[in-house]
Every structure is written in structure tokens, then in C-alpha cells.
């Protein structure tokens, strides 16, 4: 996917660009705020990674102009600023996420991935419920009752599959396809691992993942144990 990186510190920009290129993304790297703002006007991106302190035009201004023009592209802000006198945060200005420098590069990559997936997942709230489990596919958040639970990417995919058809039994092979596609080699043990983690994270919910011996797994609503 195409990513715009706006970062004026060369050492940092280089490392980010290399990391995303290594995972198959195309990165346009700009060092000047004004020229970045111009590019955004006529280019479509899957994600914009925006530094705040920039020559020409600062990151917050760019963010404001993006949102003012109705562009809903995911924006991840990188900030070295202290919020010593800030009245509004990057999130209030319409950023989807932010990281304070210095950050862990793996974390940046992971958050960027979450944002890109969320964006391609559609705009409207897409709520699926089973018992007291609610999965919001737009924001990719999961609630059990009034608790919000943080799930990993594959755990969420697994839950989405199960929750979409409660009561239906999914075989391990079916789930393997859904979770890993065809490009990755994974074995049935991986499914057991994810189901185990997901069960633990859903503890206390009114729906359970039930193992149907020899067939696979199903999500059962209600307190039946």
C-alpha cells in the first residue's frame, strides 16, 4: 500500500521508509511540510505518517487542512513536542493515532498496520453481536459487556469469523484459510494456540467457543457451560 511519510530528520525518515518498504509498501518521503500538503491534495494514500515539527508548515496544520478538505485518510502523528501548553491534542485535531518520539519501531509498524486495516474495513459502524460480545469491525474494537478487550490481529480475525455465524462449526482448515490465507505456511496447532488465547480473553462472556471434537470450533451464545 502507498504510504506518505513526512519527516524532516533524515536518520529517522530513512529507518521508517526502509522498514515499510521491507514489508512491501510504497513509501513517499517528504521533508518539507508545505510540499507534503500539496502532494496530499492530489494523491491518494493508505496512510500518512506525519511529524509535527516541520519546515514550511507544521504537522498539525497539515492535519487540519487534510480534515478540512474532507479527506479521511488515516493519519499517524509522530511528535517530539512536549504538550506543555497544548489545549488540544493531535487526536482532537483528527489524527487516528499518535506516537511520542522516541518510539519503538516495531510498535510504529504495528500501529500503522492497524490503521490501514481499519481504513480498508469500511467507514460505517459495523457491529456484530453474540451474547454480550460485540465486535465493531470499523474501529476493530471488541466489548464483552462493558469491558473493552484488546485483541491481537489474528485473534480478532478469528473472533470475527466465529461471531459472524454463531452456532456454526468451523473446521480447523477453514479457520486456517481465514486466518493466514494461502501465502503463509501454518499448521493446525496455530489454530489451537489462537483459540486458547481468545478463550482466555473472552472469559466471563455470555458466549463461549466450544470445541466440537473431531469437527472444529463453534461460538455458542448463552450461559451453557
Amino acid at each position: 500500500m502507498r504510504i506518505l511519510l513526512v519527516e524532516d530528520t533524515h536518520d529517522v525518515g530513512e529507518a521508517i521508509a526502509k522498514r515499510f518498504e521491507a514489508t512491501g509498501h510504497a513509501v513517499d518521503w517528504e521533508t518539507n511540510g508545505r510540499s507534503a500538503a500539496e502532494i496530499i491534495d492530489f494523491t491518494e494514500y493508505a496512510l500518512i505518517i506525519l511529524d509535527v515539527m516541520l519546515p514550511g508548515m507544521d504537522g498539525f496544520e497539515i492535519l487540519r487542512s487534510i480534515r478540512k478538505s474532507g479527506n479521511s485518510v488515516p493519519v499517524l502523528i509522530l511528535t517530539a513536542r512536549s504538550e506543555i501548553d497544548d489545549r488540544v491534542s493531535a487526536l482532537d485535531l483528527g489524527a487516528d493515532d499518535y506516537l511520542v518520539k522516541p518510539f519503538d519501531f516495531r510498535e510504529l509498524e504495528a500501529r500503522a498496520r492497524v490503521l490501514m486495516r481499519r481504513h480498508s474495513g469500511g467507514e460505517a459502524t459495523n457491529l456484530i453481536k453474540c451474547g454480550d460480545i460485540a465486535v465493531d469491525r470499523a474501529t476493530r474494537s471488541v466489548h464483552v459487556g462493558k469491558r473493552e478487550i484488546q485483541l491481537k490481529r489474528r485473534e480478532l480475525t478469528l473472533l470475527e469469523v466465529l461471531v459472524a455465524r454463531p452456532g456454526r462449526v468451523f473446521s480447523k482448515d477453514e479457520l486456517l484459510d481465514q486466518l493466514f490465507g494461502f501465502e503463509e505456511a501454518a499448521n493446525a496447532n496455530a489454530i489451537e494456540l489462537y483459540v486458547g488465547r481468545l478463550r482466555k480473553k473472552l472469559e466471563g462472556a455470555q458466549a463461549h467457543i466450544v470445541t466440537v471434537r473431531g469437527l472444529g470450533y463453534q461460538l455458542v451464545s448463552g450461559d451453557a457451560s
Binding site: 529517522v12 521508517i16 512536549s82 518520539k101 522516541p102 518510539f103 519503538d104 462493558k146 473493552e148 478487550i149
Partner: protein, 470 residues
């Protein structure tokens, strides 16, 4: 360092009142003395005239009969003296030879030399142990038989004139005291009125928002200008300091974080793949130390930020759930260990607190970060709740927790404890600082079978404070 303030500092009003009473008191004493003096003089003058008149009448009544000095004292003279009815009169008539003709012959003539015949003198004296006024009238006789000077000495006791003096003095004193009281009351009222602007100014300064460092603009009399000037001067200096500190922190944040990010970026680029086994260990350590440096830098900057914001940012009603959720999202990395169950629980209602969203988020982020780094093994729960007048953010993990004896130490900056790997750094110190600035507190709950809980307690925002009073 500071000189002890007296428990009861002297009031300007009391001081002025004391001074004015003193001046008025001295004035009253002087005026009363003067009144007494004038009354005394006036009474003397009045009664002396009667005395002299009587003496003259008596002297006039002296006559020579049959070659002898005869005395026929006129009744009118005694009538004149009788005006002072309680006083006693003594007299003595001395003939030309110096012999007493009649009266008390031990009554002394007022002055020995009496050449200045015309002026009738009245003098103080004592007779029979009583204070008297004495005068002497001279009659020059030119009879062939009796020639020379005959004298009439008249003395009168002082009761009437003393009474007059007393009465005159008393009346004058009453007048003086009434006037003084009026003056005192008037002065007190004037002082109160004059001191009013001081109170106005005090109230205006007290009512100000502590974050407002603009000059005070209250209408005060010219005399208070230096005072207001000083206040504004200090406000100005404080404002400059605050701005300077703010600029410094902002500069430090950008100037340190940018190269630090560049450093971590380069370490990330380097990667461990191409290194030899020994170098890989060094590389891991460099990476770890850089991470520590990054974390510490962020904590120091965040500590400076929350301290500064506590003094400079206006608190406003905010939703604690929103702030805590943002903190939760920021503090829990997406790359967190997949075996840790991380959850966030909110109450049905939306508890509101009066606070600074940035500082509160920073506090919660630090508590969660601490729990993830030092506590959580399989579970981390963040809960927001509200009971009565208090709102809570609880961070629970299933780690070993902090034993109660180390709680106090854990709140301190850069404290280390045995149960924690390394230092908890500034995390709890930041959270505690923020809690205090919001009128709340940071506390721990003893480890139970579920886990160890850190609680941030904040007062709930009352929508209408007046409704609570009613």
C-alpha cells in the same frame, strides 16, 4: 529561611486609632488645664473686684472724730462681700500709728512695702490655716489731729471662687470631651473609609484566577500605586519565569527527543542479523540502554510538564472515561505480549471530573506502563468507576505487586525496590503529582488472589455546586 510571622499582625486601623487617641488625649489634657487656668483667673478677677470694692468702702468710712480715728464699718461693704455667702471675711483697721483699731490684729498686711499706693493689689495668703485672698486699702488722713496713712486690710476665704473655678472648668471640660469624642469617631470613620481601597485591592487580588498573571487593574487611590506597582512587577516576573520554563521544557523536549529518535532509528536499521554472536550481545545491550534512555527522557519531560501544567492550566470538566481510554490506547502497545489479557472497563454513567486532560492522561499512561513493565504476567485490567463524590481509575495486574512496606518508597522519584526489576523511575511520582494537583490521590491496594491494584482517586465534578449546598 523565613522570619516567623507574628500570630496577630498589627492592624493599620488599630495603630491609627491608638495614635489618634493619644493625640486627642494630650489635647484634652492641655485644653482642660488651660480651661482651669482661665477659670481660676476669671474667678479671682471677679471676686477680687468685690474684695477691693469692700476694702475701699471700708477705707472710705474711716473718719476722725474728736481727734481720734473712728471706724464705722458700712453695711454695704459686707453686703458686697456677702455675695460669696459661704466665705468668711477677716479684716483689720490700722491707724496712722500702726495700731490696730479694730478687727483681727494678727491679720498680716499683704506686702510690707506699700509705696505704690494707687494700685490695689490682691494677694494669696493664709490666715488661721486657711487659704485667703488679702487686699489692703489706704486712707490718707490730713486731719490736724491725725495725720498720715491709715490702712484697711480685708481677707476672704476662697470657697466661692474655687467653686466658680470648678464649675467653669467642669463645663469647659465637658465641652472639650464631647468635641474630642466627636473628633475621634469622625477620625475612625475617616480611617475606615480611607482604608477601604486596601480591602478592595486585597479582594481583587484574592479573587483572581491563580493562572492569570496579567497586571492587576483595580481603581485605587494614588497612595496605593506603589503597592499595586509591586504586585504587578512580581506578576510580570513570575509570568516571565513561567514562560521561560515553558520554553525551556518545550526546547528540551524537541532537542533531546529528535536525536534520540534518530539514534533508535539507526539502531533499528542496523539490525542484529549480520552481527557475530559476541557483537549481538553488545547490540542487545545498546538497544536496551537506548530504550531505557528514551523512557527516562520521556518521564522527565512528562514530569516537568505535569508540574508546570498544574500551575498554569485551567481545569475544566472532562469525561474521565474518555481520558482513561485514550491513556489505555496510548500506553498499551499493539505489540504487547499476546498472552496478556488487556481490558478496559467503564461504568454505565459517564463520571466527569474537573481536570486537565493532558496531565490526567499522562498520569494514567504512567501507571499502566508501570504495570506492564513490572507487573502484568497474564492480565492487565483498567477500570473507571464512580462512587458518591469520587471517581476512580484502577489499574490491576496479576504480577507480584508491591509489598506494603515499599509503598511509600515507590511513590518517590527513582526509587528502586527488590521486587521490581530496576527502577520504577518517575511513573508513580508523575501520577501522584497529577492526583494532588486535582485534589485527589494515588494509592495501592494490597495484593489479593486476583492481583495488585493501583488506584487514582479524583473528586467527581459536581455540575451545580450551589445545588449541593441547598
Amino acid at each position: 529561611m523565613h522570619p516567623e510571622l507574628p500570630i496577630n499582625p498589627p492592624s493599620l486601623f488599630a495603630r491609627l486609632a491608638r495614635r489618634i487617641s493619644l493625640v486627642l488625649g494630650i489635647g484634652v489634657a492641655l485644653l482642660v488645664s488651660a480651661a482651669w487656668y482661665y477659670a481660676d483667673t476669671a474667678a479671682d478677677k471677679a471676686y477680687d473686684r468685690l474684695l477691693v470694692g469692700a476694702a475701699l468702702q471700708m477705707a472710705e468710712s474711716l473718719a476722725v472724730e474728736d481727734g481720734k480715728l473712728s471706724v464705722r464699718l458700712p453695711a454695704s461693704a459686707f453686703e458686697l462681700l456677702g455675695l460669696a455667702d459661704r466665705d468668711r471675711i477677716f479684716y483689720r483697721v490700722i491707724d496712722t500709728n500702726g495700731q490696730t483699731v479694730t478687727g483681727y490684729d494678727d491679720l498680716q498686711s499683704p506686702s510690707a512695702s506699700d509705696n505704690n499706693s494707687d494700685a490695689m493689689r490682691v494677694e494669696e495668703g493664709t490666715y488661721k490655716g486657711e487659704a485667703v485672698r488679702i487686699t489692703r486699702a489706704t486712707r490718707v488722713l490730713a486731719d490736724p489731729a491725725v495725720t498720715g496713712r491709715a490702712y484697711v486690710i480685708v481677707a476672704q476665704t476662697n470657697e466661692a471662687r474655687s467653686a466658680l473655678t470648678r464649675e467653669l472648668t467642669l463645663r469647659a471640660t465637658i465641652l472639650v470631651i464631647v468635641m474630642s469624642l466627636l473628633a475621634f469617631v469622625g477620625a475612625m470613620l475617616a480611617i475606615r473609609y480611607a482604608l477601604q481601597p486596601v480591602e478592595h485591592l486585597g479582594r481583587a487580588v484574592r479573587r483572581r484566577d491563580p493562572h492569570d498573571l496579567t497586571p492587576v487593574s483595580v481603581n485605587v487611590p494614588r497612595e496605593l500605586d506603589p503597592f499595586v506597582g509591586s504586585i504587578n512587577y512580581f506578576m510580570g516576573r513570575l509570568g516571565e519565569r513561567v514562560d521561560l520554563l515553558q520554553r525551556f521544557i518545550a526546547d528540551a523536549a524537541h532537542q533531546i527527543r529528535t536525536p534520540l529518535t534518530a539514534l533508535t532509528a539507526q539502531i533499528d536499521l542496523l539490525g542484529a542479523g549480520k552481527l557475530s554472536k559476541a557483537d549481538r550481545q553488545h547490540f542487545a545491550r545498546v538497544k536496551e540502554r537506548t530504550g531505557e534512555l528514551s523512557r527516562l527522557t520521556n518521564q522527565l519531560l512528562s514530569h516537568a510538564m505535569v508540574i508546570h501544567r498544574a500551575d498554569s492550566v485551567q481545569l475544566e470538566p472532562i469525561s474521565l472515561v474518555d481520558v482513561a481510554r485514550r491513556a489505555w490506547r496510548a500506553a498499551v502497545p499493539v505489540t504487547v505480549d499476546p498472552d496478556i489479557v488487556v481490558s478496559f472497563e467503564t461504568p454505565e454513567n459517564r463520571p466527569m471530573v474537573l481536570g486537565d486532560a493532558v496531565s490526567l492522561r499522562e498520569a494514567i499512561v504512567n501507571v499502566i506502563d508501570n504495570a506492564l513493565r513490572h507487573g502484568a504476567e497474564h492480565r492487565l485490567e483498567v477500570r473507571v468507576s464512580a462512587i458518591d463524590t469520587q471517581a476512580f481509575v484502577e489499574v490491576e495486574d496479576d504480577g507480584p505487586g508491591i509489598p506494603p512496606e515499599d509503598w511509600e518508597k515507590a511513590m518517590q522519584r527513582f526509587s528502586t525496590s527488590k521486587s521490581h526489576e530496576g527502577s520504577s523511575g518517575l511513573g508513580f511520582a508523575i501520577a501522584q503529582e497529577v492526583a494532588k494537583a486535582h485534589g485527589g490521590s494515588l494509592s495501592f491496594r494490597p495484593r489479593n488472589e486476583r492481583g495488585f491494584v493501583v488506584v487514582l482517586t479524583l473528586p467527581l465534578y459536581q455540575k451545580e455546586p450551589s445545588a449541593a449546598v441547598r
